[in-house]
Subunit: 203 residues, 2 copies
Amino acid sequence: MGRVSDAREKLMEAVMELIHTGSYGSTTIDHICEKAGVKKGSFYYFFDSKSDLAIAAVEARFQEDRKLADAIFSPAIPPLERIHGMCHYLLERQGELQKKHGRVLGCPLHSIGAEVSTEEPELCAKIQEIMVHHRKYLESTIRDAHAQGLIHAPDPAAKAEMVFAYYEGLLTHARIQNDLSVLNEMEEGTMSLLGLKETASAR
Amino acid sequence: MGRVSDAREKLMEAVMELIHTGSYGSTTIDHICEKAGVKKGSFYYFFDSKSDLAIAAVEARFQEDRKLADAIFSPAIPPLERIHGMCHYLLERQGELQKKHGRVLGCPLHSIGAEVSTEEPELCAKIQEIMVHHRKYLESTIRDAHAQGLIHAPDPAAKAEMVFAYYEGLLTHARIQNDLSVLNEMEEGTMSLLGLKETASAR
DNA sequence: ATAGTAGTTGACTAGTTAGTCAACTTGAAT
DNA sequence: ATTCAAGTTGACTAACTAGTCAACTACTAT
């Protein structure tokens, strides 16, 4: 029935890249269409609005990232090594983005969330929902580390929120300063937050 | 000579409030003028563009905040008490903003910085400049605390960056989740980051 | 009191924006 | 091979956007 199309996917990719390299507000539907190579009529065939597209795009991105996160945070890996893997991944990814776009870009979820929180409640709700999931990866890692006596974290959920906020703040500072080296402290800072028992390299 | 005017100041106040309650991108010159009760012709008499106004506004806000910061971070106050004062102030301020605007708003500098970093280099540079100053308050506090043997922080600048990133991340999470209680962990998290020697309430 | 500067105004342009729509095209399923 | 649903197109509107400008006004310094 009818023809098939990848316009939907192209639009989602385009909006993510434009928002990440620029901002939500400066990304117009015309720009998205141009970047995706899709005419505006088609845009409105698939989506109701920019925020509708953004919600779909953010969700799709999350579903892709899920597999990767499951690998990094595999319970089969010692908890502190999971943290290390996470920091390593973030650093690597930001490096790739810098290479590709000539700029440190930070975390798109956090940037979009901060920008639209007072203006696009549905998009913001979707971002909050995804952030809850992200936090869970940290939480179970921290719980495991505590159970193994590696750190002192009787309230893993609270610690996870701390570490998560720290990551987001750091990534955003790297974006604002357009400087990857801001991220070098990430693993050490995480260990401080977690109250690592005894000196580093206790991996 | 000529008449005097407070239009300049009104415009700076208006743009700060609009950006903070909304975003940089969604704040138009027309909105700013309307809010300030100033006609657009007057806007362009004082400023070249929205970003020009934003730079002036951000700088003016910083100059005001300076006095307050000098009080909170007075070297006459024991270092850990300065940290406490800082957390207390941030919590109180966010509470005021919530009361006034019906929303948790977070840190305007961080929000603007994340949003415009790839698009408004001059505004971003101004924000970076101000952030350097903010970091210095933390740095000297941390250095004092280390010198007094209260914490282990041989590199106060690095620790200050950690704490600063953590604050910004936390404030932004509070904004995104529109939830003040996110900030409750702030002081405890700071102490973890600083590697406070021995249990809390060591004020 | 008055001269002249600092500031104000509203009407203007030109470009951009979101969103609509009827006519058109393509291809998968029968 | 034909049908018809799925997807495309470009031209359209109406609202909004940044920015300009010449004429106007009010005040301060003399």
